[in-house]
């Protein structure tokens, strides 16, 4: 199947008009030596019907969370995506447009992004946000780039931060010239590090990689005492219940925005959220939309502060991001408008209630305990199992349950269990029974 509309006559007439003898002539400037003289070794030229059938067959070989009851989290969550979100974000005028370089033709996307920035600020109790970043992990990278100034180059990271974030920092750090330094915690919670005058930022995830609530105020206090920036990795869906980063003392807050109306998509497309204080506005990465007026005094929206960006600053730019995750930000905007303040609170309360119910049911099983019994958590908790977490997880697949995410680095017996508002009491009970059964199986 092809989309170029040209008929043979079209091609002939167009070539005639431009005085070329053949299509090949158009490629004369390619040196013969580098021309490809054979067809590409790619099957197809298939019909839509065939390629979709092929993809449907591949999809059918996956066991999606429509089939498996999903207790997996660890940074991506099976939250409910209301129909309205993609019915609107999927409108083709949004979906098939490019970055709004011509604002008069792009007020739809621009206004939606202005609303997105506003909502992120409302969520975080911070002052400025942007039009989205790639995802949570790369948003943290940008927060670090924003924080590292002059002599302050070191990057301290609580060891209760998700290793995927730390690995991503490490990769980008090799180019930027830093190595993330982990500071030790205790009992699954961070403990305030000592912060010298060479430290750029202190990074805390709250709720952390175990789902546990951190003593954020004290950690951020330590950062500030040392003159460093406090950077929080947050869960956007927790902020109807939990105190927002801005009030905990975070200077920069970043998050994986997937829980806001975006599908699991095997890891992407998601979106990175970032918010900071107004003093940092000129160090913010990425697109920023601003409100202004047109020649008739009518309110409108434009990309602003572009002097920050790579296409102007070039080798002096703080960030190279160009294409971002605008459509996902648009989905998040619709989702947050659908939620409203009350809905945000309710979804958070449901996560808290059902995850705690699940923790109680599961730890009621002999040999199963919380990895950190006394720590408060939001929607995720780490279990210590009498057997290999991966083994148990695999066994429960046959019962139609995706039991969670093993955390081998924390112990081969540690399983991270996430419970969103979608998990019913019945599903949680079934999980508990299946777990009890599989542990018995194993031991007998």
């Amino acid at each position: 199947m092809r989309f170029a509309p040209h008929t043979d006559d079209d091609v002939r007439e167009m070539l005639a008009r431009i005085g070329q003898g053949s299509l090949d002539d158009l490629f004369d400037s390619i040196p013969p030596a580098v021309r490809l003289e054979r067809p590409l070794d790619i099957p197809g030229g298939l019909s839509e019907m065939e390629v979709l059938a092929d993809l449907a067959a591949l999809s059918a070989r996956d066991r999606s969370v429509d089939e498996l009851v999903c207790f997996a989290g660890g940074g991506a969550y099976d939250h409910y995506v209301p129909s309205v979100v993609w019915a609107l974000a999927g409108r083709s005028e949004f979906q098939t447009s490019y970055t709004p370089y011509q604002p008069e033709l792009s007020q739809g996307v621009l206004q939606a992004l202005f609303e997105f920035q506003s909502m992120v600020c409302e969520l975080t109790a911070l002052e400025v946000s942007n039009a989205s970043l790639y995802d949570g992990a790369t948003a943290l990278v940008e927060a670090v780039n924003l924080s590292r100034q002059g002599p302050r180059t070191r990057v301290l990271v609580a060891d209760t931060v998700d290793p995927r974030f730390v690995q991503t920092l490490a990769a980008y750090g090799r180019g930027a010239g830093y190595e993330p330094e982990l500071f030790p915690g205790a009992q699954g919670q961070a403990v305030a590090p000592s912060v010298g005058d060479d430290v750029a930022c202190v990074i805390l995830q709250h709720p952390n990689v175990f789902g546990i609530l951190e003593p954020a105020r004290s950690i951020f206090g330590a950062a500030h005492d040392g003159g460093a920036r406090a950077v929080q990795i947050f869960d956007p869906l927790s902020l109807g219940v939990l105190a927002p980063p801005g009030q905990l003392g975070a200077d920069v807050a970043v998050a994986e925005g997937q829980p806001l109306g975006n599908h699991l998509n095997f890891g992407g497309p998601y979106l990175g959220l970032i918010a900071a204080r107004m003093d940092d506005v000129r160090r913010m990465p990425g697109r920023i939309v601003g409100e202004t007026v047109d020649v008739d005094g009518r309110t409108g929206y434009v990309l602003t502060l572009q002097a920050r960006e790579q296409h102007i600053r070039r080798e002096k730019a703080n960030s190279n991001i160009c294409t971002n995750q605008t459509l996902m930000a648009l989905a998040a905007t619709v989702y947050l408008s659908w939620l409203g303040p009350r809905g945000l609170e309710e979804v958070g309360e449901l996560c808290v209630a059902r995850s705690h119910y699940a923790a109680t049911r599961l730890t009621g099983i002999p040999g199963v305990q919380l990895a950190y019994p006394d720590a408060p958590f939001f929607k995720e908790f780490a279990l210590r199992l009498p057997r290999s977490a991966a083994g148990v997880r695999d066994a429960l697949l046959d019962r139609g349950i995706l039991a969670g995410v093993p955390l081998p680095w924390a112990g081969s017996d540690v399983l991270l269990v996430a419970v969103t508002e979608r998990r019913t009491r019945g599903e949680i009970d079934a999980f508990a029974e299946a777990l009890a059964w599989s542990l018995k199986e194993g031991s007998s």
Partner: protein, 507 residues
């Protein structure tokens, strides 16, 4: 929004657009943002009645007052964002000749593909045995992209081109580091896209610009003089950002390789050469692809994209993890996390898989012949349009043979009539078309970078050319018409200076 927000400005009678946009059917302009419609107590969301006891978290962790999210009914939400969508121009609205962006038709079937439950409803941390389908899809796509670019292996992790650039440059860095060499510089053409120098910096290198010569191509002699042992590599877009093919590519690559440098291919313009020639055969070692350009994955008003990076054999060890590997004995796929020389992780998970599915669909819909046809038709359309416009908007490099896009200039209009490229663009909007890229590349004054793509018909190109020629005539006969434009849009020219001066970045 001012009360007069929605008033459609009466077009100056002289300026009654020839083919003015049809007005959409619509409600009165709503005032302001979704927040302005908020009413205390109104809501759209609903959740199940709690079926378990509520739990109180420690007080010190709780939020005191709720965030100021809008309180609106679902019905009003739908009207609001439907209306915003209709204030937006997309590929489905009409021709979108934005140079360097390959804004071609986005197949509707790609939505169906991405919505398949085995892709859309899959958790990134599920065990491999439950994700064989998506892993095979990614594996097949990786190998197709390698065949298209002439590379050995590729990573699909980078979520966009710029991230692909940085990924490639970090691979370059790791490669040199492992060989103990202390290289510090990366050469880029002066006409390069801004992400190139920015990525070079973020990779810890120093960007060195090589000038273009009067052909609009890399000045090879200048390059020779620049390149020394400190040079880790060169980044090049080919065809370059002027839409011209770097005919000296072999010599250029040779110069860089002579000092042990690596040659990086910025794939933004890959659409021009699909099936005709391959970066790998030109001597490139690293290639990034923008699937949202070449492979028609919808750009969503700014993103998402995907920026797969392919490399030659010698660089495979440095690619990011995890990688999709296949056990040839069993045909079983798995995610490999363990690769000692890897630069590590460039994305929190596995990249924009939902975008990659769409790229897969596009590649296999076309197949080898279809992909070659894409570049043929793209180049044909660009040359045809350039030809129709040459009188009114001369090419920046008249002697160059444009490939899939061309850079024209409004310099003459500016010098003789005080009309700038932006005025041409705004007037074109009133005639119902999305303008080309303007003011990029920076090396050309009043540049208009036009990329029609292969999916436009000759009739569309004729009509677009007629409109642009009309604008050139109006620039002489009625320049004010251009300076006043646009008048048919929801808002007219916006005060960008004011936006930057009086920052209003949130409600």
């Amino acid at each position: 929004m001012s009360a007069s927000g929605g008033e459609a400005p009466t077009p100056p009678s002289t300026g009654a657009p020839v083919g003015a946009p049809v007005r959409r059917q619509g409600p009165p302009v709503q005032q302001g943002t979704i927040a302005d419609q908020s009413r205390p107590g109104r809501r759209a969301s609903a959740f199940p009645e709690p079926d378990v006891a509520a739990t109180q978290l420690p007080a010190e962790h709780l939020r005191a007052d709720p965030p100021g999210l809008p309180e609106v009914a679902e019905r009003d939400l739908v009207v609001h964002y439907t209306r915003l969508s209709q204030m937006n121009y997309g590929v489905d609205t009409g021709v979108y000749p934005l140079g360097s962006c390959s804004m071609k038709y986005n197949p509707k079937s790609s939505e169906e593909a991405a919505a398949l439950p085995g892709f859309r409803r899959l958790h990134p941390l599920q065990p491999d045995r439950t994700t064989q389908g998506v892993l095979e899809m990614l594996w097949r796509l990786e190998h197709a992209l390698c065949e298209i670019t002439g590379m050995a292996r590729a990573t699909l992790q980078p979520p966009a081109g710029a991230c692909g650039e940085l990924t490639g440059l970090l691979v370059m860095r790791a490669y040199h580091a492992e060989r103990g060499s202390e290289k510090t510089k990366v050469v880029i053409p002066d006409a390069a896209h801004g992400t190139n120098p920015a990525s070079v910096r973020l990779a810890g290198f120093q960007a060195v610009a090589v000038p273009s010569d009067d052909r609009g191509l890399v000045d090879v002699r200048a390059l020779e003089s620049i390149v020394d042992d400190e040079v880790a590599g060169l980044m090049l877009t080919n065809p370059n950002t002027l839409g011209l093919f770097e005919r000296d590519i072999e010599e250029i690559a040779g110069i860089v390789k002579a000092v042990d440098g690596l040659v990086y291919y910025d794939g933004a313009n890959l659409n021009a050469i699909l099936g005709r020639c391959r970066p790998g055969d030109m001597g490139f070692d690293i290639v990034h692809i923008n699937t949202h350009k070449t492979f028609a994955t919808p750009h969503g008003g700014g993103g998402p994209g995907a920026g797969p990076v392919g490399v030659v054999d010698a660089l495979v060890p440095y690619l990011p993890v995890p990688r999709v590997e296949r056990d040839d004995a069993t045909g079983v796929f798995h995610l490999e996390h363990d690769a000692p020389s890897s630069i590590g992780r460039m994305h929190g998970f596995h990249g924009n898989v939902g975008v990659l599915v769409r790229a897969y669909l596009y590649v296999f819909l076309h197949g080898s012949d279809g992909l070659r046809e894409v570049s043929e038709r793209a180049v044909l359309n660009a040359n045809y349009l350039a030809n129709l416009l040459q009188e009114s908007y001369p090419l920046a490099y008249p002697d160059g043979a444009p490939m899939h896009e061309f850079v024209a200039t409004a310099k003459r209009l500016r010098d003789q009539h005080g009309i700038r490229a932006t005025d041409v663009a705004k007037r074109l909007i009133d005639l119902g078309y999305h303008p080309s890229t303007v003011y990029f590349p920076l090396v050309v004054e009043e540049s208009m970078m036009v990329e029609p793509t292969e999916t436009e018909t000759v009739e569309t190109l004729d009509a677009l050319a007629a409109a642009l020629r009309q604008v050139a005539e109006e620039a002489v006969s009625d320049p004010d018409l251009l300076r006043q434009a646009p008048v048919t849009t929801p808002v007219r020219r916006l005060d960008e200076a004011r936006a930057a001066r009086h920052l209003k970045l949130r409600w």
